[in-house]
Symmetry: D2
Subunit: 340 residues, 4 copies
């Protein structure tokens, strides 16, 4: 059960609610967000039900909501059944257009990024991605250029006008990413890093939240709930492949998650066909399929010379292949009543 406090409740009103909950032998979990404060009531179901009407009558309480689904703020019902739109600077994700975020896996040099950025913008990309801090399975793999990469990205934004998306893995990186970039990516490995989710929730910056490779759809929504419970509702969900027994592809891209997430939540949903497949030749067909399934956008890795990339070469498109993909997406987007 969740007690949603009204926007202008007083500290005394809140403490009154907590006291009432605790006197009933239940536990109160206060979550203060930027926009609202919610008080989770934890404990025996029957006791909670007995308490419900009393809580609703208290001053400062907006509503008391039984939760059937374990997530609440991110659920479609909570947003009146409507889609929400996330703005990253002047780009809207979750509106009518299919938004393509493109760029290299890792930032390697100013020239690599500016070349890629110009090419992907020309082909129709609306946001630029590029890794500054790289989560690598091995400690001996290239770990990213860090703040230097962020500076390169910011300069390329000046030159091209493309807003920037890049990953942060901890509070320190988050501070830097918020300073330089327009949207912060929470990577698949950190989808259940609750401290980071809370931090990014408080930062208020637009968030690209990637599904963990073994996370259910419900767990992805609960991770988003952590962010939104801190008052940040600028969240874009991203399907990027789950772990299965199939070894031909790097992961198994779960495209069914797109219509499922759209039904359960109001948040925009995009797809990463590069990590999802691990093979660049499979990226374009799966990008087409993602849009046909209803995705609000795509996250695509593009590198001027994939065979020289410092990370994930086999799954990055050349600018030429990216341009071909964008043309094919145009046709699919039209077929589902959208534009790229």
């Amino acid at each position: 059960m969740i007690v949603v406090m009204s926007p202008r409740h007083t500290r005394a009103e809140r403490e009154g609610v907590v006291r009432k909950v605790e006197e009933a032998g239940l536990r109160a979990q206060v979550t203060e967000g930027v926009e609202r404060t919610v008080i989770g009531v934890i404990g025996d179901s029957h006791t909670k039900e007995l308490l419900r009407e009393g809580l609703e009558a208290m001053a400062g309480v907006e509503s008391v909501v039984r939760i059937l689904q374990p997530y609440k703020l991110v659920s479609r019902e909570f947003h009146g059944g409507r889609d929400s739109t996330v703005w990253v600077r002047n780009v809207a994700i979750g509106g009518g257009r299919v938004v393509v975020i493109a760029g290299p896996c890792s930032v390697e040099s100013p020239r690599q990024v500016i070349e890629t950025a110009r090419a992907v913008k020309l082909a129709g990309a609306q946001l630029l991605r590029g890794g500054a801090f790289k989560p690598r399975t091995s400690p001996y793999s290239f770990q990213g250029l860090e703040e230097d990469a962020l500076k390169i990205l910011a300069e390329v934004r000046e030159a091209t006008g493309l807003p920037i998306v890049t990953e942060a893995m901890d509070a320190r990186q988050l501070e830097l990413v918020v300073k330089y970039a327009d949207m912060v990516q929470i990577g698949a490995r950190n989808m259940q890093n609750y401290t980071l989710l809370r931090d990014v929730g408080r930062a208020g910056h637009p968030v690209l939240l990637k599904r963990g490779p073994s996370a259910t759809v419900e767990e992805l929504l609960l991770a988003a709930e952590y962010i939104m419970a801190e008052g940040n509702s600028n969240i874009v969900l991203c399907e990027r492949g789950i772990r299965t027994f199939e070894t031909y592809t790097r992961y198994t891209l779960d495209l069914t998650a797109v219509p499922v997430l759209k039904r359960l939540s109001h948040l925009p949903v995009i797809v990463d066909p590069c990590h999802g497949t691990g093979k660049w030749k499979l990226v374009t067909p799966m990008a087409r399929a993602a849009v046909a399934a209803g995705a609000d956008g795509l996250l695509v890795e593009v590198h001027p010379e994939p065979d020289r990339a410092l990370s994930d070469g086999p799954q990055q498109l050349t600018p030429q292949n990216f341009a071909v993909m964008m043309q094919e997406l145009d046709a699919i987007a039209l077929a589902v009543g959208r534009r790229v």
Copy 2:
């Protein structure tokens, strides 16, 4: 290593090859198909390599092929890099058109089937499906109307002109299915029932081979190889969802398998979005995605009253929803240069 015998080789020539192989301490596995005979050479790699040129020089031998991939006849290379087309009566699967196979999960009554058949034909389906023998997880579930169902299907074909696809699970059922139907389905649970694969290979009838829920792409191709090694190349592959940890959907539809199979094999590939998702509301978006990914067709369950169906109700479309889906598919098919 495989020795492909020339079409008009003699028995003596074949026996000569077998003898030579066995004298080298290797084992010969003769597979006689309708179109060709191939002799698999089993044993030590080095010995095989030494023997190769000698075998190639023998009378009656067309070619000796090293196998890098474990499947051979179904590989794209074996068919000169071209797609193959499978004809089911007057319908071509694997040509330019997207072929939709539709009908109820189980045949329940003449009226149910004829109503469904007329509706799906009107909406653009080209083949009719309907289960006569049902593989059910529980022995106490409805097991199908058996031969009565086949008779109903045959009558409906007379009335509508739609060729018939239905499943067989053993040799006796196969005999009946071949007698009444135009294409035999090998279900997911029987994908590695090698006896049945051989039987259907010898039967020569067009085959719809469904991927097992825990089969890799390579294992699916090897199952098709069993059929083709018996001389039957009229095989259509079908992706229908794999088993993963996700529980919101019945299976996880692995749409990436579509471009993967098309790259590795010349055989047509279709998709079953009903079993793959288990929820009818997800069928249409995943059908659109399948066509966008390059599928040659779809297998869709349609029932006049899904909530009264004797099997798989929750994943069957009504005729009305099917008609809407077909319209949406038209647009997607055009976007990828095809027609439904």
Copy 3:
């Protein structure tokens, strides 16, 4: 709901039950086994409940059972909470002793089998396994010596007294296996081959039923239910590894399935650590673990020269390693109050 007919019911009594069920708008599924006839009642739950008492009162009806779990005859409750014991000739599986079934993956020659049999018997094995018909992923792999292998196995039984276990994949093979061997194995790939399950149910021979690599525990029990519904209750269940994302081992041995199956069912449960791991060095620790988890036995592959085996060499023990394993099992068995 299941109507269990009394052992000496008449045809008229049975027809009366079927008529009553059908008049209520429900469907009756008659399953005639050797020991008993059960009539599954399929359809609306409420109608079934209304009908229940009436059915119980009918002549020839022993009991009417609501099924909460989808399987019934194999459930522990059905057997009064007690373990059942399966006799294979003079060997009891499911009693106090841990029964080890050992032998080569494939029968290759009389000498190979007799050598292995003598060695494993000396070390304490109680049954001999050996493949005559081999289910192979590739049609070009060695497929077994077929009836010749069965004859070798039968001769070795004469020489050693060890009862024989071997696999059958279809009705024709089953007939031969029943003729020569003492226990028929249904392999993992055929766990949901319902025709074969029914055939083996009617054959009445002891059955070793292996869990499919993507089958849940419930599906394994339902497969056993198919066999038992035909009147054959001589079933031993076998855990042999499931498919997961882990690639270091061939499968992931799900040892938790052992206590789970023992809780849910009265049937004996054994473990195959060879297929489950795919690496002989892991076989002994996992065999120990299986016994510690409560397994009633083990299925272990032993070959005099594993590196020359025609199938599954890397996972077969040498007779020497097998003898070491047996000694270690002795200690574990004692620790859980059993003997090998």
Copy 4:
């Protein structure tokens, strides 16, 4: 390739190595640990090989190691093939004894912890666990008593002498945990939280590293490598179940990982049968199996009143059941030549 610097190398020597690597067009990744500094050399294999002997000859270089396996410091070879032992205060994990870590999932009150601690100590547990910071899938679930819990744990250590293990999820929590507890747990969800791994590597405190539910054995070892590359080799690995399609149990306990990890690495390996199964009735048989498979210890949740627990009630043992389990483990440990 890894350049291992000698313990007393100078800054100039290190810079010389980096310069040489970069002049060859390769990238140098310097990792400074407490005990040693290693320089990962990243780039083209051929160039690396050419450079190898030159690097070995440089001042300050101890050795240059080709890495065949992607992990190095945690590999068994690196430790001369011997097991390593991790000391937590006066308790050795990885020596001859099977070490049992027991205690409640969450710290809820002083009384709950002291009661549990006394009971588990009496039954033979050597370390006390208890959650202060709880990673919960939902933001509305009980999140732990935080520093209050740590204080309770420290008091109970005074009273009982049992060293304390508890989880930290970020740098701030880590600081507190290091202050109060004797071993820090990195939970399954944070197994690839590289920032946290580095932090815990630098902290030098003993670490209990749990395998992520979708992590391969290799990825677990690489996560440990992150910690060890920072100079902390006091790492205990923990198998706690992986995600599969099976739904009867919460996860699938991958006990084969125990002998696999012991073969590949010198680090001690323990098993958590509570999370691995999710059902307390399965804990004891799987604990027995873990010890039989060669585990160096167990992590077991014990709660005086599991049905009133604030987290994970269904998988916690009562003190009584725990005592029974410990007795059974004694017998198994003896059977594999160890003691509990």
